[in-house]
């Protein structure tokens, strides 16, 4: 009995993984025990995702050993890892959106009767699992794609519960969830922990990590920093271990950048002015102006219509009602191409699907918008490309500083920086940032917030969308509150507290 508790469910020793141009993991040890929530901590590019992918068989390890319940294992496919009882819920949910909830939960393990799928059994079993997680309100027969990312994630967890996984890996599970959903998720996690499931938890939200985890392993630049009991490690020492800097440097980093408010008094023409903008099935009747040098924050719950507004401004979706004026002149934004020609840029919240050209290099990705604007015939000379890329790699601290690395091999935060740089090189007048700091560590996050400040100070208009109200309030001059697919309030951001905005969102008061 005692022996059982001492043997870790998963033990990884001296793991190394390299990609062309990148040493992702170097001599990393990791242990995971039954009935614990173990947080894997580190900045972007520290190797967290790579370690998880080594454990789940997505990447083959170059050297080192992995044992599961004392048995040495070699995972070369995700299937082998799953067979060993390791189940993963990724940051970007990897289920099939075109199948129903029940088909997703039981995919590949459908109960059978006389050789064919027992659909009644499928429904019953799905209901049971969902009920176990208190998710009864989800209709097992509905299409997965009709649910928000948050719900899809909970369905992914339901799937792992159904498998009876020994190890559950949650990679940034809370990045798309609102406070209620996080509470719901944590209840489920605690429940699973009590049932002796070993849970590996990755999150950039420090408070959540301290709330839920028992132990943590810290990585930095692909190397192991150490393994600690959560209660023994203060927040400040955790952060300094993650970024490898001492406390003073941190204190400076942590300071909220003070914003000098842009003037939008009478006589100034807004850069963009939307009146009654809307689209069937999306948002309706949006009135919103953004002045030069002003940061406007969009606050509201996930799915309230924030991204939809951004897409209308950028022409990613065509508006079918209302009008847009740019610098006082009426315009029709029919496509992203027209928006870009009017000096509007848009960083999508969905990096993988809507941002990255994964198989191309950092260089190609960084100059893509600029090149697309010039057209295919006028190639940006290699020398100019090199200069631009070097400039932005340095300015945004993109790591590795290798223009020829494939962008898919970079960590999430560094990918995000490249995507930001893609727009910055074109000097837009309005930059729409949809969740630019999601899934990014504090260091990079502060860098991006500071960058937003600087850009606005240089006269750029910025539409800033984030699920974190603190962040929206920190960077914005004005906050537009979205609720139920309509704009319900505009608040000038002087001494507004998170609670104030929450009250507006909750009450919908004008």
């Amino acid at each position: 009995m005692r022996m059982n508790e001492i043997v870790p469910v998963v033990e990884m020793t001296d793991i190394a993984i390299g990609f062309p141009g990148v040493k992702a993991l170097d001599g990393v040890d990791f242990r995971l025990f039954q009935g614990e929530v173990h947080a894997l901590m580190g900045e972007n590019g520290a190797g967290k995702s790579t370690l998880i992918k080594a454990l789940t068989g997505v990447y083959a390890i170059d050297s080192g050993t992995i044992t599961v319940l004392g048995e040495p294992k070699r995972f070369s496919t995700p299937g082998e890892s799953q067979a060993a009882g390791i189940s993963t819920v990724y940051q970007e949910v990897n289920l099939c959106p075109n199948l129903t909830v029940e088909e997703n939960v039981l995919l590949g393990r459908e109960p059978r009767r006389r050789g064919s799928i027992d659909w009644k059994g499928v429904r019953t079993r799905t209901r049971e699992v969902l009920a176990e997680l208190q998710l009864d309100h989800i209709d097992p027969g509905s299409l997965l794609s009709t649910h928000s990312i948050a719900v899809q994630q909970l369905i992914a967890i339901a799937r792992s519960v159904e498998i009876n996984a020994k190890v559950l890996i949650l990679d940034e599970p809370t990045s798309s969830l609102d406070a209620d959903e996080v509470r719901q998720l944590f209840r489920v996690i605690r429940d699973l922990r009590n049932r002796r499931v070993a849970i590996l938890f990755v999150s950039h939200f420090l408070e959540q990590v301290y709330e839920i985890s028992d132990r943590m392993t810290v990585l930095r630049n692909g190397k192991l920093v150490g393994e600690y009991l959560t209660r023994d490690l203060s927040r400040m020492s955790l952060i300094s271990k993650m970024i490898g800097k001492d406390m003073e440097a941190l204190a400076e980093l942590d300071q909220a950048p003070a914003r000098t408010r842009a003037s939008n008094g009478a006589g100034v023409t807004p850069f963009i002015e939307a009146k009654g903008l809307g689209r069937k099935g999306s948002v309706s009747n949006v009135d919103l102006s953004i002045y030069p040098g002003e940061v406007v924050g969009l606050a509201g719950l996930l799915g309230a219509g924030r991204t939809e507004i951004a897409r209308l401004f950028f022409g990613a979706d065509k508006a079918d009602e209302g009008s847009i004026k740019i610098k006082g002149a009426g315009q029709r934004i029919r496509s992203p191409r027209t928006a870009i020609d009017k000096h509007i840029g848009f960083c999508s919240e969905d990096r993988k699907e809507e941002g990255l050209i994964g198989e191309l290099t950092v260089r190609d990705n960084l100059v893509l918008v600029m090149q697309a604007s010039k057209g295919w015939a006028r190639r940006i000379p290699r020398r100019v490309q090199d200069e631009l890329v070097a400039e932005y790699i340095e300015a945004l601290d993109i790591r590795p500083a290798n223009p020829d690395a494939l962008i898919k091999n970079l960590s999430g935060g560094n990918q995000q920086k490249v995507l930001l740089a893609r727009w910055l090189v074109t000097h837009p007048e309005l930059l729409i940032l949809d969740e630019p700091t999601r899934g990014i560590d504090i260091g990079a996050k502060t860098q991006i917030q500071k960058l937003v400040n600087k850009l606005a100070a240089d006269g750029m208009s910025i539409l800033f969308i984030s699920s974190e109200l603190e962040e929206v309030l920190r960077v914005s001059d004005r906050v537009a509150v979205i609720k139920d697919r309509a704009l319900v309030a505009e608040i000038n951001n002087d001494d507004v507290s998170v609670e104030d905005v929450m009250t507006v969102i909750a009450g919908g008061a004008q």
Binding site: P336, E354, A372, W376
Partner: protein
């Protein structure tokens, strides 16, 4: 050596070299070239000349495939190009003059431009899936070609026209020179401009490309037009070589050879990164296979199976899964044995 093996072109090149060596073993004068009447002759020249139409079409196909598309209509375009030019020459008052030949070529190329625009229109503007969109022209195109020729095989006798597929210039067959020129044009067009990168961007992630302001429609149009023009040049070559247009059989199944050449060369059917050099190597492999069949004296009934085996081998060598399996088999020997092996290599 190891990094060389990891290069994406490594296996296609090795396969081609192996095939050529095999031929050399069975036919000692295989590699030899000889000069006769100021023309270069030899098996290698034959392979290049006979492979020219496939290479041309495969070049166009590579760019189409890189955008996540496919062009099944190339065989039909070959037939239409041959039919149009030969019908024009046959009906013209001066069927033997160079001007007539030049006009015929122009007619074929203009027809191909129109056909490429049609394919591009269906795919990029209407949004029809490429396989369906080009299937339309694949089936309808042969009908058009038959209409042009009136269902007959149209023979022509025009020396200028004949030189496209059977002539010589600077000691080399004209068809090889034309193919080399088109390859150079494609390479310059895609790599000296940004076209290549943008084609790859559209192929890798169309959604992100649109949000980056890329005019995917224009790019898709360009690749289908280029593919059709390549097919038309191939069609001219084929009909010129036999001085006749056969609407039924010219370029029959050539789309399959072209797609195969692209895939063997290392460009994924899923779109994205492409390699023109790989495609040329792939086309050479296919053509050399045909030659090898004759050299080895393989009976005709075994020919297709032999071809299939080689193609499967090359494709497997390129598949990441098969490669992993291979490297694991190689890694299997005990460390001591590996050390010994390393030492051997060092010597």
């Amino acid at each position: 050596m190891k990094s060389l093996l990891k290069h994406r072109l490594a296996w296609p090149v090795i396969a081609l070299a192996a095939l050529l060596l095999l031929n050399q073993v069975f036919k000692p004068d295989f590699m030899s070239l000889r000069m006769q009447d100021g023309h270069l002759y030899g098996s290698l020249i034959d392979i290049m000349r006979n492979g020219a139409p496939t290479i041309l079409i495969a070049l166009g196909m590579t760019l189409v495939i890189a955008t996540r598309g496919i062009d099944l209509s190339v065989g039909a375009v070959v037939a239409i190009a041959g039919a149009a030019s030969c019908a024009y020459i046959a009906a013209s008052p001066e069927p033997g003059s160079p001007v007539t030949a030049a006009t015929a070529v122009l007619i074929a190329v203009v027809a191909a431009l129109a056909l490429g625009v049609w394919n591009g229109f269906l795919v990029s503007t209407i949004g029809v899936q490429p396989i369906i969109a080009t299937l339309v022209l694949m089936t309808a195109g042969r009908g058009v070609a038959q209409l042009i020729t009136g269902g007959q095989i149209v023979s022509v006798s025009n020396d200028s026209y004949k030189s496209i597929g059977a002539g010589y210039l600077f000691t080399l067959p004209v068809s090889i020179l034309i193919t080399a020129a088109v390859f150079a044009l494609a390479a310059v067009l895609t790599r000296r401009t940004a076209l290549g990168t943008l084609i790859e961007a559209v192929g890798i992630n169309p959604v992100a490309s649109r949000l980056a302001g890329l005019r995917a429609r224009n790019i898709i149009w360009i690749v289908y037009v280029f593919s059709a023009v390549c097919a038309a040049i191939a069609g001219l070559m084929i009909s010129s070589n036999v001085t006749a247009a056969d609407a039924n059989n010219a370029g029959l199944y050539i789309e399959m050879d072209a797609i195969l050449a692209v895939v063997i060369g290392g460009t994924s059917l899923a779109g994205g990164r492409y390699t023109l050099v790989g495609t040329v190597v792939g086309a050479f492999i296919i053509q050399t296979l045909t030659t090898t069949v004759y050299t080895l004296g393989i009976p005709p009934e075994v020919t297709l199976v032999f071809k299939a085996l080689v193609v499967i081998t090359v494709c497997l060598l390129q598949a990441p899964k098969a490669r992993n399996l291979l490297s694991r088999l190689k890694a299997a020997p005990k460390p001591a044995a590996q050390e010994a092996a390393k030492e051997k290599v060092a010597i």
